[in-house]
């Protein structure tokens, strides 16, 4: 943003920007960062530059802090020196009060970035002996502004003068003059005022400040206080019109408008294992996405805490840090209970991987809880946060607020890339809808249900949804063993879904049948082997027979041949003997 802050300097810049004299210079309201986180988004840029802003609210609503924070942050972060006219504090109190917010008041004063003038108004003690005006105040303010070249001014609260002086007509004229003076000097001012019963402010100051009016409110609903902020008007600019919860935290006021959170957080492709092997498999084999929000809903006693703890244990096992926000159980109780299912969380607590934050939902306002969680997150930088159960907030505040808080919490954690596991106690009617209406913000939703059958109650877990990953559509029976959580396939057959004993019985029966079938097969195989052996033997016998027959035949043939040879030899010898010589032919001639 450019810095033609003072109106006096503006005209030359304008004429240069708009050479045509026919075009009227547009009245663009310049804005300055307010120093209050979230408010700038809400007002599309901050407070009107060079103009007074009225901040009104009841006692303890945070208006002084608002004003001081604007000036201090302006000095710290935007190099805009500031003046604070403090009507209600003494110098001692002032620095002390704001030191707790980390505002380096004294340091800034020493660096001439801040000047605090403590204006004491004696209440109705001053005798008025004639006509007067408040030029003294103007002189002080002007002197302060000039001394450090202030760009911002906080006046807290100007209406104190109404208790110190009696001429109300004069005071009103002076207040009007003061606001005009601030505007003429191009000072970005925050003026606080007490909330009135009928009007916005007790003395009707909103009449004099027309540019920006912000209302702070602290309301107690069901014994829990919630702070809210509303931009009542902001001339010449669009702004969020709703009431937005705000927090007074260790860094001062922060407004967290729902709409302003945006959906621009970084998205990770990293996966984190769930701690339950079979659940990982159900979620495409790799577990949750890092930085995603996991909701685990179920009726009482369905093992939500166990699943959450198992996840926490897995994270700690990877050397990551985990914050476990326990809203219904004591730390020791969770540790003991988890030990019974074979999870030693205590060692993670000892190694400072796991931090428990135990709080009663009714022990503080919603924003207080948020602040504490913010604080823990900033202190420990966890990879994962478990909130067990988020539904317990429902009983403490109106649902809209709980939803708003949950949304802010989820967005906050998501923005930091922290994997968040929320457990949610759903009512036994078992609707797949959270009462606080955060379902749509959830990335992975696991539902644990009771299945009642044959006088037994068994748990079944399924993945209701899991964005951006292939996941199982099966209902798994969910067993809590002394070695942690196990998921088994439920029996789905002609008898419907069977769990627990019914499933076991059914499985046994199936096993029996399988056994039987196996035995039959074995017998058949054996039988076949025997038959093969028999036949083999027969074949061998036949072969032997054949060989014998062949040998016999050969023998007969041989014998016949020899006999034939003998016979022909005999005949020769007979013929030879008949002719009486060796040559039968010569004997003939």
């Amino acid at each position: 943003m450019t810095r033609p802050s003072k109106p006096k300097k503006a005209p030359p810049a304008r004429t240069r920007a708009l050479p045509s004299p026919l075009v009227a210079a547009p009245e663009v309201l310049e804005k300055v960062p307010s120093g209050i986180s979230g408010l700038d988004k809400l007002t599309n840029g901050g407070l009107p530059r060079g103009r007074p802003t009225l901040v009104c609210g009841g006692p303890g609503s945070g208006k002084t802090l608002f004003a001081v924070q604007t000036v201090v942050r302006g000095a710290l972060e935007h190099d805009e020196p500031g003046v604070i006219l403090a009507f209600e504090d003494t110098a001692d109190d002032f620095a002390k009060n704001f030191a707790s917010f980390g505002f380096p008041i004294e340091d800034l004063i020493a660096k001439k970035l801040l000047l605090v003038d403590y204006v004491a108004v004696e209440r109705n003690e001053i005798e008025e002996t004639g006509r007067y005006d408040l030029e003294g105040l103007f002189v002080r303010l002007q002197s302060a502004v000039q001394t450090i070249g202030a760009k911002r001014v906080a006046i807290d609260t100007i209406e104190t003068i109404f208790t110190g002086f009696s001429d109300e007509g004069l005071l009103r004229a002076e207040v009007r003059r003061l606001f005009r003076w601030l505007k003429d000097h191009g000072l970005t001012a925050v003026v606080t005022a007490e909330r009135g019963e009928k009007a916005l402010t007790r003395y009707g100051l909103e009449e004099y400040i027309s540019d920006c009016v912000i209302l702070l409110d602290q309301r107690v609903v069901d014994e829990v206080a919630t702070r809210r902020l509303r931009v009542v008007k902001y001339r010449g600019t669009g702004h969020g019109t709703n009431e937005y919860p705000f927090l007074i935290g260790p860094d001062g006021i922060s407004v967290l408008p729902l709409s302003a959170l945006g959906l621009s957080y970084p998205v990770s492709n990293d996966r984190v294992l769930t701690g339950v092997e079979k659940l990982d498999v159900m979620l495409g084999g790799a577990g949750y996405y890092r930085g995603s929000t996991v909701l685990l809903s179920g009726t009482a006693g369905t093992g939500k805490t166990s699943v959450a703890s198992q996840f926490g244990d897995a994270c700690c096992g990877r050397g990551e840090r985990v914050i476990y926000v326990a809203l219904e159980e004591a730390e020791a109780q969770i540790l003991r209970n988890m030990r019974s299912i074979g999870l030693d969380l205590e060692k993670w607590v000892r190694r400072k991987n796991l931090t428990f934050h135990v709080a009663r939902p009714s022990g503080a306002g919603l924003e207080e809880h948020l602040v504490r969680i913010h604080g823990l997150v900033e202190q420990h930088h966890p990879a994962a946060v478990v909130i067990d159960p988020i539904s317990s907030f429902e009983n403490t505040a109106i649902k809209l607020d709980v939803r708003a808080m949950s949304v802010r919490l989820i967005d906050y954690l998501k923005g930091l890339g922290i994997t968040t596991m929320l457990t949610y106690l759903s009512n036994p009617a078992g609707t797949e809808e959270t009462q606080i209406g955060i379902s749509s913000l959830i990335d992975t939703w696991l539902s644990v249900r009771d299945l009642e059958q044959d006088g037994e109650r068994n748990r079944a877990l399924y993945v209701l949804k899991s964005r951006g990953m292939a996941h199982s559509n099966q209902v798994r029976e969910f067993l809590i063993t002394d070695r942690g959580i196990d998921l088994v396939d439920v029996y789905i057959g002609t008898d419907g879904v069977l769990t627990g004993s019914a499933r076991i019985a059914r499985e046994r029966r199936d096993e029996q049948r399988a056994e039987d079938r196996k035995r039959v097969m074995q017998l058949r195989t054996q039988d076949l082997a025997v038959r093969r052996q028999t036949m083999q033997a027969q074949i061998e016998a036949l072969k032997a027979e054949l060989a014998r027959e062949e040998r016999e035949l050969e023998r007969v043939i041989d014998r016949e041949e020899r006999r034939e040879a003998w016979r022909s030899g005999t005949r020769e010898r007979m013929r030879h003997s008949r002719f009486g010589n060796d040559d039968p032919s010569s004997k003939k001639s």
């Binding site: 204006v119 002996t129 004639g130 007067y132 408040l134 002080r140 110190g164 002086f165």
Partner: protein
């Protein structure tokens, strides 16, 4: 005016002796200041912002009242805040003109152009005694 002036003058001088009685009742007895009261110098500081008609009027009014009631026992210091703006913080000045009675204690503050003499006297703790003498 002239008549009242004389009566008042007398009133004050009478008052001076009686004046300390109710005061001493307000603070612990035996405060060393009591003895020198009659001759004590009143130190007054008048804050104005510039030489405006109102500041000139205020100074004139003040001077007149002092002459009447504190003749020879007062000193007025005029501070122009336009010349010395930082001095406004010390005495917590908001309205102008403001008159601060530095001495005698306690510090008293009155504002306005001092046209209402009665109120000036009340504001400076001069009048209750005047009333008591009526």
């Amino acid at each position: 005016m002239k008549l009242s002036k004389t009566t008042k003058k007398r009133t004050v001088s009478k008052l001076e002796k009686a004046a300390r009685a109710p005061r001493s009742g307000r603070r612990p007895a035996g405060t060393p200041r009591e003895a020198g009261d009659a001759r004590e110098i009143w130190q007054l500081r008048l804050y104005v912002a510039g030489q405006t008609p109102r500041s000139i009027l205020a100074f004139a009014n003040l001077k007149k009242i002092c002459e009447e009631h504190l003749h020879g026992r007062y000193r007025i210091e005029v501070i122009d805040l336009l010349k010395n703006p930082t001095l406004a913080r010390g005495d917590q000045i908001l309205a102008v003109p403001t008159l601060v009675r530095k001495l005698p204690p306690p510090v008293k503050k009155i504002i306005g152009d001092f046209t209402n003499t009665e109120r000036v006297l009340v504001g400076l703790n001069l009048v209750p005694f005047a009333e008591s003498l009526r």
